[in-house]
C-alpha cells in the first residue's frame, strides 16, 4: 500500500469503498509526537549488533549502511532499544534537547 504521508480526505460518498477497507498505510500517522524521551545513538561505540533494530515494536529504527538510525517521525520513545543495547550506547534524552 502507498506509504504516503498525506492523510486521506473524502469529499463525496462515491469516493468511499462499499465496505470499510484500508486505502493507505499508517505511515501517514507520525507517532513521533507521542514521546517525551528520544533515543540518541552513539555510533562511535555501536557494534552494529542490530539488536535495537530487531526489538523496536514500531519498526522505527532503520539500518542504514549497517548503522542503526532512529526514525524520529515515528519513534514513541519506549526505551527498549536503550535498555537492550549490549554496549549501552543509546541514551534516552528528554525531548527538546
Amino acid at each position: 500500500m502507498a506509504k504516503e504521508r498525506k492523510k486521506i480526505d473524502f469529499k463525496k460518498l462515491d469516493e468511499l469503498p462499499p465496505m470499510v477497507m484500508s486505502l493507505r498505510s499508517m505511515a501517514a500517522n507520525p507517532t513521533g509526537s507521542w514521546r517525551n524521551l528520544k533515543p540518541v545513538i552513539d555510533l562511535g561505540n555501536c557494534i552494529q549488533c542490530t539488536i535495537c533494530w530487531k526489538f523496536c515494536p514500531d519498526a522505527a529504527i532503520d539500518l542504514v549502511d549497517d548503522n542503526p538510525v532512529v526514525n524520529l517521525d515515528f519513534c514513541k520513545g519506549c526505551g527498549i532499544c536503550a535498555e537492550e543495547c549490549p554496549k549501552k550506547c543509546i541514551q534516552m534524552v528528554k525531548e527538546g534537547k
Binding site: M19, V20, M21, S22
Partner: protein, 383 residues
C-alpha cells in the same frame, strides 16, 4: 429433469447448481437433510466444494464470512436456535458486504423446545441487513437459491431463503432440476472485487469513527434499494432462462378482491385453497403472498392493496408487546397511502396447523367487523 424431493434437498440441489465453493454448516433439526445431501454430493465430487464441519452455527457463519471475503461462493443453512446463535454475524456479514446465501428453515424459538414451523426466528433478524425470501414450494426454494446468488453478488448484500419446517422442508414435491449449463449461463462465477488478495493487500472491517460510520450504513441501505431493482429485473431474466416467474409478491385472485389475505410460506398455499372455496360462495376474497421481506417491496404492496376494503394479515409469529411482524410491515407501508383497515391474526405458532377452516373462520369474523376492535386476534388458542 423432474425429481420428487423434499424441500431440504431442493436447497441442496440449488446450492449444487449454483456451484457453491465453500459450505460451512452445523446440524439442527429440521435442516439436517440439507447438509447431509450436500455432504454426499461433495464426497461424490458432483460438486467441487470445501465442506467445513464447523462446531457451531456461529462458527458456520464465521467460516462463511472468511470464505466469502476470500472470494469464494459461500453457503450455509440453519434454523431457529442456530440462526439466533449467528445473530451477531448476520449483522457482520451484511456490514462486510458479503454475498453469502443461507437457507433458514423457519422453526419455533425455545423455550419451549419446539421443532415445528414458526417465523419468529427469521423475522427477528429483519434488521440485520440480510435480504429475506419466503418460499412456498420446493421448486421456488431451488430456484431462489440460484436467483439469490445472482442478486447478492450484484449488490453485495447477503440473502436468507426461508422455508417452513416440515410443511416444506420435509414435504416431497416434484421439482424440475434445471440443466447445469442453463444455470451457468444465468449465474456467472463469483468475481469479488474486494477479496483478500496477497497481490493487492487491504485491511477489511476495521475501526471507523462517527465521522465515516454513517456513510457505510447508507451505502448498505442504498444497496438494498438497488437489490429491489435487481429482484424485479431478475423476475424477467429468470423467467426467460428457466420458464418460471418469481416476483416480490405473489397475488392470487387480487384483481377484484375486497377482502385480502396477506400470507407467507406454506400458509399462503392454504390461503389460496381457501380463497377458491370462498370465491365459490361468492365472496370477493384474494390472497397476497409476501415473498420478499427485505428489501421491503413498498410499491408492490401499496399497489396490490390499493382497492382492498379489508386487509387480513395472518402472522405465524408475534412480536411480544406489539403485533405480528408482517402486520407491522404492511401497516407501515400503507400509512399515508391507504386507510384500509388491517386485521392482524396470530395463527400457527410452533407448527400448529393452519387449516382452510382456520382461514375461512378468520374471514367470517372479519366480515362481521367494519374495522379491528382488537390490536390483534389470536386464532384457536385454548383459553
Amino acid at each position: 429433469m423432474k425429481k420428487v424431493m423434499m424441500g431440504n434437498h431442493a436447497i441442496s440441489y440449488g446450492a449444487t447448481l449454483a456451484r457453491v465453493q465453500v459450505i460451512a454448516a452445523y446440524p439442527i433439526t429440521p435442516q439436517t437433510q440439507v447438509v447431509e445431501l450436500l455432504s454426499e454430493i461433495v464426497a461424490d465430487q458432483r460438486l467441487k466444494a470445501e465442506f467445513i464441519k464447523v462446531e457451531s452455527e456461529h462458527s458456520a457463519m464465521a467460516a462463511c464470512i472468511g470464505a466469502s471475503s476470500a472470494g469464494a461462493r459461500a453457503f450455509t443453512a440453519t434454523s431457529s436456535q442456530g440462526l439466533a446463535l449467528m445473530h451477531e454475524l448476520l449483522h457482520w456479514s451484511a456490514g462486510a458486504r458479503l454475498p453469502i446465501v443461507m437457507a433458514n428453515i423457519n422453526r419455533a424459538m425455545a423455550p419451549p423446545w419446539n421443532i415445528w414451523t414458526d417465523q419468529n426466528d427469521s423475522l427477528s433478524q429483519r434488521d440485520t441487513g440480510w435480504m429475506q425470501f419466503y418460499c412456498q414450494s420446493n421448486q421456488e426454494v431451488l430456484d431462489t437459491v440460484i436467483m439469490a446468488y445472482k442478486v447478492a453478488e450484484k449488490v453485495l448484500m447477503p440473502v436468507m431463503i426461508v422455508l417452513d419446517a416440515f410443511s416444506l422442508s420435509h414435504t416431497y414435491e416434484i421439482v424440475d432440476l434445471p440443466d447445469q449449463a442453463v444455470v451457468d449461463k444465468y449465474l456467472p462465477p463469483f468475481d469479488y472485487q474486494y477479496k483478500l488478495d496477497v497481490k493487492n493487500p487491504h485491511t477489511y472491517g476495521g475501526l471507523t469513527t462517527p465521522e465515516w460510520y454513517m456513510e457505510f450504513r447508507i451505502k448498505m441501505h442504498e444497496a438494498m434499494d438497488q437489490a429491489l431493482v435487481e429482484i424485479k429485473k431478475e423476475a424477467d431474466v429468470f423467467e426467460k432462462a428457466f420458464g418460471r416467474r418469481y416476483d416480490t409478491v405473489d397475488p392470487y385472485m387480487m384483481e377484484d378482491a375486497e377482502t385480502v389475505l396477506v400470507t407467507s410460506g406454506t400458509a399462503a398455499s392454504t390461503a389460496r385453497f381457501t380463497v377458491d372455496q370462498l370465491r365459490a360462495q361468492g365472496k370477493k376474497v384474494g390472497n397476497l403472498r409476501m415473498r420478499v421481506l427485505r428489501p421491503f417491496p413498498f410499491a408492490d404492496v401499496r399497489a396490490q392493496l390499493k382497492n382492498a376494503k379489508k386487509v387480513i394479515v395472518i402472522d405465524r409469529n408475534i412480536s411480544f408487546g406489539y403485533h405480528g411482524i408482517w402486520a407491522q410491515e404492511v401497516k407501515s407501508a400503507l400509512y399515508g397511502h391507504s386507510q384500509v383497515p388491517v386485521f392482524n391474526f396470530i395463527a400457527g405458532l410452533g407448527g400448529r396447523d393452519i387449516f382452510p377452516e382456520t382461514i375461512s373462520d378468520i374471514v367470517a369474523l372479519v366480515d362481521k367487523k367494519k374495522k379491528p376492535d382488537q390490536e390483534l386476534y389470536w386464532v384457536e388458542v385454548k383459553r
